[in-house]
């Protein structure tokens, strides 16, 4: 028996609104989903689990039709779907009256149901969201029913407002595999008795790292799984260390090279750190033009020795200025301190 476990596809999401690659990303999320189905068509699996948030918002009938059309192309695969907190089955949800293809099993209730597969000895348990939030721990004390075959649980959630889960309990509850969804970062528990596959395509700038889905198969009595990286691009953090000898051009070049090394297509968050000399003036816009950069954080500090400057300039404006900020530690105030110092000192005349 082989299966694929997907979650948090978020079809219809528009990542990083306002940036140049936003609509392209929207398309890529769909495209990756299609590629996964195409992969199954090439190399069929017995089961496909979709553990919630297939859609980013309430699905429209035409979205469901398109997804259903894709499911019809893999008739040998039985598809088990639960709705998550994003595509929850609300009052007017299109999920309610939709007629799925024969190979699709949709869990339409906010209580745990169990269904025996019609082809292979597998019992699938699952529940959907009918609300945006479920604060009850629906999974506490759950255990598989008696019966032969494999017992697999689909569940969406794991934080306090979305079905809090005691992961250790759930792992030892007797299921052969627990297919989770909701957390966008892939995570395999223990020896693979339970896993979050993560989103197949990262949805926003916080979804750094690799993305894909989980593939599972049986070896004797046990289920083995592995993570399959599949995303078109990833979000990555580049930390640029600045030192006293850094120049603006040098930093821009370093960033361009680093982006070329890690992959031009990826989307980056850039963090500048270290100490920079007072005559280094960075132009954020130019830096942002070095690649797909979604945000630029400047955590570098000017190379000023505040204590000795305070001493050196005591009794003058610069000294007063440093004194004014001493003891104030908020990030903004620290920034203000360095901005002011840099302006005062770099515009000062020679003695």
């Amino acid at each position: 028996m082989r299966f694929i476990h997907l979650a948090d596809v978020h079809l219809g999401a528009v990542p990083d609104r306002g940036s140049a690659w936003s609509s392209r990303r929207e398309e890529e999320i769909w495209e990756t989903f299609r590629r996964i189905i195409a992969g199954i068509r090439e190399n069929p699996v017995d089961l496909l689990f979709i553990a919630g948030d297939l859609f980013h918002r309430q699905p429209l009938i035409r979205d469901l039709k398109e997804v259903n059309r894709l499911f019809k192309t893999i008739p040998d695969t039985n598809i088990y779907i639960i709705a998550g907190n994003h595509d929850y089955i609300g009052r007017g949800s299109a999920y309610k009256k939709f007629r799925w293809a024969e190979n699709v099993i949709f869990f339409d209730r906010e209580e745990i149901m169990c269904i025996d597969d019609d082809k292979i000895p597998v019992t699938v348990y699952g529940f959907s969201y009918c609300h945006q939030e479920i604060c009850e721990s629906l999974l506490d004390g759950i255990c598989p029913e008696d019966g032969d075959g494999y017992h697999i649980l689909l569940a969406h959630g794991g934080d306090e407002k979305h079905v809090p889960i005691d992961f250790r309990d759930l792992m030892s509850s007797g299921f052969d595999y627990v297919a989770l969804g909701h957390i966008h970062k892939p995570h395999i528990f223990g020896n693979g008795e339970m896993a979050y596959p993560g989103a197949p395509e990262p949805i926003d700038r916080n979804d750094t790292g690799e993305h894909g889905y989980i593939e599972g198969w049986t070896e004797g009595d046990t289920i083995r799984i592995r993570f399959v990286p599949f995303a078109t691009r990833c979000y990555d953090i580049i930390e640029l260390k600045i030192d006293e000898d850094s120049t603006r051009e040098g930093i821009e070049e370093e960033l361009t090279e680093e982006i070329a090394r890690r992959g031009q297509e990826n989307i980056y968050r850039v963090v500048l750190s270290g100490m920079r000399s007072a005559d280094l003036l960075l132009i954020p816009e130019k830096l942002k033009a070095c690649g797909n950069i979604v945000d630029l954080q400047d955590e570098s500090r000017l190379m000023y020795d505040l204590e000795s400057l305070k001493k050196q300039y005591a009794g003058t404006l610069v000294g007063d200025y440093i004194r004014f900020f001493s003891g104030k530690i908020s990030d903004t105030e620290e920034k203000a301190l360095f901005y002011g110092l840099q302006a005062l000192l770099s515009t000062s005349r020679e003695r």
Binding site: G12, V14, R17, G18, S19, R57, Q58, P59, L60, I61, R62, G92, S93, A94, K97, E244, D245, S277, I283, P284, E285, D295, L296, Q297, D298, M303, K311, Q312, Y313, A314, G315, T316, L317, V318, G319, D320, Y321, F324, F325, D331, T332, E333, K335, A336, L337, Y339, G340, A343, L344, S346, T347, S348, R349, E350, R351
Partner: protein, 508 residues
């Protein structure tokens, strides 16, 4: 404070020299490049250490400039000075290998570490910046008249706004505002992008709502039609019953008329009279004909009703189908609107979230307002006093020719003579130098606080004519501060001898 003696082991071009100073005027005479500036730098470095730059600029920093070539391990010397009645000896070696610093209080033999605050206290907390601003006075750097005026105005503004003549608050603010502009442009661009997206979403919502309304109206009209067709919801029940009744009636009438005519015919067989028999047959025929006609008509009616019923059913089916589809389309639009509203509110959140750029703008605003308010503070503390004191010194060294130094809001300066106000631009270089001197002397008195520091005049009098120099020297004689005049001309010495001004001459 009084500097009494200096011994230089190795510092720049000076090696193993001792200089004795007296209170009052010291005249340090030496040719160009003989080391006058080196001596002044030495004094400053003894008190404040040698600044060492890191990185690219290190090659030309003070440390490297004065590092001795031959004996780099013996880099420094000793200075003896008095402050508030106590005598001190300060020895330093700046070398990298054997750095050394020692401060001895000669009155009680206490050995102090000069770098842990003891020296600062003895210097009356005069910081290096204040020292630079007040102790050492050089020539103005500018060459042309207009530049001189600017330089002087900048000095004055710097002192008044920041107690530091080198600071230029206006340029600093300008720089901050430029940086702020950069971030604002980015922030505005970000907001604009979101804004146009929001507008797109809104117009999409409006369009969908329009459609929703239309679909809703269509639903209403379909519902009306269905009501009209089937007011009590019984559907085809009544009409079907009528069809059945009519058909049954037709059937019965046919049957009855056939039966009656049969009876009549049988009766006719038994009739004896021919006429009766004929009448019965005719009756039978009439009954039969009547029955058949009636039956036919009722059958027609039933057929018509059935046809109508089928039509009705067709119509009803069509309407309900339409209703279903319209409803589905309506729900689809409603879901889309709901999704767009969600997207819109996320956009609003993004619009009002504090972006990193906005954070930078906030920091810069804090910097600007802090500089402003601290500067106003300094101005109220020293501004007026500085102008008064400068005016008094200027009057002193010009024998009362100029009585007051003025500065307006735009930082433009002027001087007041007995008779009128003269803008700086109209004054000669000599007078500008006099104002500069007065300003720096005044600043020295004001900013050094309790401990009057020596004043070092490094080649200041090059542009002074004899008259100006004489009155300045006369004025200096009356000052209580220790004065060190370094010069490469013999004019100062000659004039002081002529005027019988006591001074201590040192040769480099």
């Amino acid at each position: 404070m009084l500097i009494k003696r200096i011994t230089i082991r190795n510092f720049g071009k000076i090696h193993n020299r001792t200089f004795e100073f007296s209170d009052g005027i010291n005249l340090l005479y030496g040719e160009n490049e003989s080391g006058k500036t080196t001596l002044h730098t030495f004094i400053k470095c003894m008190f404040y250490g040698i600044p060492r730059t890191r990185g690219r600029a290190a090659k030309n920093d003070t440390y490297r400039t004065y590092e001795p070539w031959e004996n780099p391990g013996d880099y420094g010397g000793t200075i003896w000075f008095e402050s508030e009645g106590m005598s001190y000896r300060l020895t330093r070696n700046f070398s990298r290998e054997r750095p050394f610093a020692e401060l001895l209080c000669q009155n009680n033999g206490a050995l102090l570490n000069p770098d842990d605050g003891a020296l600062e206290e003895i210097l009356g907390n005069v910081s290096e910046a204040v020292y630079d601003n007040t102790v050492s006075i050089g020539q103005m750097k500018s060459v042309t008249g207009q530049d001189l005026v600017h330089e002087l105005q900048n000095y004055m503004a710097g002192y008044e706004g920041s107690a530091d003549s080198t600071i230029d608050i206006q340029r600093a603010s300008q720089m901050l505002k430029m940086t702020r502009k950069g971030f604002q442009v980015q922030e505005n661009r970000r907001k604009k992008a979101i804004d146009s997206e929001q507008i797109r979403i809104l117009s999409r919502i409006t369009y969908l709502e329009e459609e929703e309304k239309k679909l809703d109206a269509r639903m209403q009209s379909i519902r009306g039609k269905i009501n009209e067709l089937d007011p009590d919801g019984s559907g085809t029940e009544y009409i079907e019953r009528r069809i059945m009744k009519t058909r049954r009636k037709a059937h019965y009438i046919g049957l009855t008329s056939a039966l009656v005519s049969c009876i009549l015919l049988i009766l006719a067989m038994f009739m004896l009279r021919r006429s009766f028999r004929a009448a019965a047959v005719i009756c039978a025929v009439i009954v039969l004909a009547f029955g058949f006609i009636r039956r036919y008509m009722l059958g027609r009616e039933a057929d018509r009703l059935a046809e109508y019923c089928d039509e009705w059913k067709e119509h009803y089916k069509k309407l309900t189908w339409e209703m279903l589809h319209t409803e589905r389309a309506l729900v689809e639009r409603q879901t889309a609107i709901e999704n767009l509203r969600e997207e819109y509110s996320e956009g609003e959140d993004a619009l009002y979230r504090i972006s990193p750029e906005a954070e930078e703008v906030r920091a810069i605003n804090i910097a600007l307002s802090t500089i402003e308010s601290l500067s106003v503070n300094i101005n109220t503390q020293v501004g007026t006093r500085l102008r008064e004191r400068t005016s008094r010194i200027l009057a002193g060294i010009t024998n009362g020719k100029y009585t007051e130094v003025l500065m307006n809001e735009e930082l433009k300066m002027a001087v007041n003579t007995e008779a009128r106000v003269v803008p700086l631009e109209r004054l000669s270089r000599g007078t500008l130098e006099q104002i500069y001197f007065s300003l720096r002397m005044a600043a020295g008195e004001l900013f050094c606080g309790g401990v009057p520091f020596p004043v070092i005049l490094d080649d200041v009098f090059g542009t002074y004519d004899e008259e100006r120099l004489k009155s300045l020297l006369m004025w200096l004689r009356g000052e209580k501060r220790q004065v060190m005049i370094s010069t490469c001309s013999s004019r100062e010495a000659e004039l002081m001898l002529e005027e019988k001004i006591k001074f201590n001459e040192l040769l480099l």
